[in-house]
Symmetry: C2
Subunit: 303 residues, 2 copies
């Protein structure tokens, strides 16, 4: 089953304590797609400017990602410039040039409209709602958001939450959304807002998954070398939704495994800038690291 993803495609300029990269391929839809394509076909809807290098489109197509919904508009591609400190989290935004992304009004191509799995990456919740009005009988709708929308479009966000199955959200956003400091309480509150499944992403500290009846906790797979954490959350979502779409089952066991696949995909994202590593891996690489993670985390309770 194929996944439809709507989000940003960007040219990022990123500085970390270990290096710098200029105008590299980025954006939520890119990281999500490059991750999910390892599991199922992916249909991308996004917008870029005329400056967007053709090689990137070719790269996505060579990966098997359907770019029919990638519109090239008059103007420049969304550009984000950020800088990370030694903790490799909470980057400082140096500048944001929305460019053509400012007028992003996603049109879902006819051939995409029967996509069964939908991922609404972090964009204006009004746009996320408009996307849902264009799809027919989806099986599963997941979405992400950020503090900006929580603060500025809360009403629209709450309307959206009534229509979705899965919310992926980071730790601090879940606290801001619910005004709960404790993450279990925050998750319980979010489940009352509509989503049936809440995934709280804690970055290098792992992930918490909640449904009304089940909970799952996994640590992150700590990497000795992190080059650039940009896109880790969307890459997690790509592995998570990708795995669910591949197995076509949504139950306690598949959600646990999906969390682990998401966790492992994120490790490939942070190993290099842009898709330096994530864009080059095979199923064998993924399965190998999944097994390493299993070894790293497993324990028996009876001696």
């Amino acid at each position: 089953m194929s996944i439809l993803v709507i989000g940003s495609v960007a040219l990022d300029t990123i500085k970390t304590p270990l290096g710098k990269a200029e105008r590299i391929l980025g954006g939520s839809a890119i990281y999500f797609s490059a991750s999910a394509i390892n599991f199922v076909p992916v249909n991308i809807v996004a917008t870029v400017g005329e400056d967007f290098p053709k090689k990137h489109i070719k790269f996505l197509q060579n990966k098997g990602i359907n770019t029919q919904g990638l519109s090239i508009e008059n103007g420049k591609t969304f550009h984000w410039e950020g800088e990370y400190g030694w903790d490799f989290s909470n980057p400082k935004t140096i500048r944001t040039d929305l460019n053509v992304f400012a007028n992003f009004n996603p049109k879902i191509p006819k051939s995409y409209q029967s996509s069964k799995y939908i991922f609404l990456a972090n964009i204006d919740p009004e746009i996320q709602i408009r996307v849902l009005e264009q799809v027919k009988n989806p099986k599963l709708i997941a979405c992400d958001t950020m503090n900006y929308w929580i603060e500025n479009k809360r009403k629209e966000l709450l309307k959206l939450f009534k229509k979705i199955d899965i919310l992926t959200i980071n730790e601090s956003e879940s606290r801001e959304l619910t005004n709960q400091k404790n993450l279990i309480k925050a998750a319980k509150d979010i489940l009352r807002l509509g989503p049936k499944i809440v995934v709280i992403k804690k970055g290098e500290h792992g992930v918490l998954l909640f449904t009304k009846t089940h909970r799952f906790t996994a640590p992150a797979y700590l990497m000795e070398t992190v080059s650039d954490p940009t896109g880790a959350g969307d890459t997690f979502a790509g592995g998570f939704i990708g795995y669910l779409a591949k197995t076509k089952r949504i139950n306690q066991n598949s959600l646990r495994r999906a969390s682990i696949y998401g966790t492992i995909m994120a490790t490939f994202a942070v190993e290099d800038f842009s898709l330096g590593k994530l864009g080059k891996i095979s199923t064998i690489d993924i399965e190998k690291r999944i097994k390493q993670f299993k070894r790293l985390t497993s324990f028996k309770i009876k001696p």
Copy 2:
């Protein structure tokens, strides 16, 4: 096999966003003992003042903790006053009255000297070394420390590290000790300093365990209600060392299980002030929560 613990006994005054408690039983040796006694006999060496309530000594003895090495000195008991914010970590110290603890010069009673398992809770590394000079043929020596000693008694600390088997240390201390931001790199550096096993405690984010050949990662067991995180690290150590002493085996599997027992014991510590909960639990309570944790964290990698 019994454990010998050397550390502080305190009367703590603690404020959290949810409550306040004055002059309650605390200190590293207390939390460690109350945790480890659930696994094996515990011999405590510490000092208190004449103001130390007799009921506390009775309480420890009723738990089966050997208090022969608890010396009552002229003066007042060590008193720490601290305040936690909503994140329930990094408390602000309001005041510290060392009192009799300032002259703590632990004498190990003869009956304790053949203890096979030793835990040197966070105190001056010079004192930790003097304790080791008094014990005969220990099977396993574990120790804890803090940023103050890393900054002010580095030389003595490094001397101590040559003599120990296990170091339990928190995330930020491991970074400060090694000047490494990445925890894998920090752990590798610490293993080069002497300890054969390094346990990096990440509080509500779980624990990382390293030996030269193995690694283990476990998330924390998130609690919906945290009353007071004081003593969680020492309680973890009590469960960790207690489990190892009980099973008498130190191998990859027992170290993993020990980490889980430590994790679970810490959840009882944070549920109430002082030993409000930790002091009242039975083996059944512990095993029940161990099973819950197993359910919370388990996943299969083959569908």
